[in-house]
Amino acid sequence: MSKTDKKTVLMVLRHSPYGAGLAKAAVDTALASAAFEQPIDLLFIGDGVLQLQPDQDSHSKGMKNVGRQLASLPLYDINHVYVDAQAVARYNMDLSTAAVVTRELDDNEMHQLMSGYDHLLGF
């Protein structure tokens, strides 16, 4: 895989962190993308924003901590993380102190964002 083969990819995450296996698969994919120096951005929609919920502690459930995995995104140069403003408000989330810097978007802005990528990965 050549470093010049760059397609822009937006991962769209819509599921809560522990309800199904998709959240973990998505985060693993994002980190793999970064490891292979292929750019990837993230958009959390609906229940997907719950992956950014602070203070997750999944240890006793025998599951990897999705929130902690996401907190490491900046270390991998994944810096463009967008969130569904309506969902953030619905869950009364304060992301100002989250480990990942996020930008809240309304519906039109999300459509505009999605329209700018070569590929959309719907998780």
Binding site: M1, V9, A20, G21, L22, A25, T29, F36, H119
Partner: protein
């Protein structure tokens, strides 16, 4: 055009995995090439060598086997998801001391790098989920 598919759907629930296989067939018939079909999460169950359908039913596992038999396509299952779902090739069965391989030889077990490569190498990346 060059296509890759990402298959997240289990072959045992809903139509979606069957639709993905049918999509691949139609894309080829329309003259496109398939770079890779990457199976992740429950999608890896499509590689099952042992699934037996009830009489009068056909599961997506058969569709994928037919697709693999007719065309030389890179069918890749993600190793982490595959192991979790009990989908092991002989090497993984030996490594994890399981009695036998459980996947069809048409599938290759590999890592997420293959999905990343598929995104970089394809004109179209089509996701099948749910």
């Amino acid at each position: 055009m060059i296509y890759s598919l990402l298959v997240l759907s289990s072959p045992f629930s809903g139509h979606c995995s069957r639709s993905a296989a049918a999509f691949a067939q139609s894309a080829i018939a329309r003259g496109h090439s398939i770079h890779r079909i990457f199976f992740l999460d429950a999608g890896t169950l499509a590689s099952s060598a042992n699934s037996v359908s009830a009489q009068g039913e056909q599961s997506a596992v058969t569709d994928w086997a037919e697709l693999a038999g007719q065309h030389d396509i890179d069918l890749v299952i993600c190793i982490t998801s595959a192991l979790k779902h009990g989908m092991l090739d002989q090497a993984e069965a030996d490594r994890h001391e399981r009695s036998s391989a459980t996947i069809s030889r048409a599938f290759t077990v590999s890592g997420l790098g293959q999905l990343v490569d598929a995104c970089a190498s394809s004109d179209r990346l089509i996701t099948f989920g749910g």
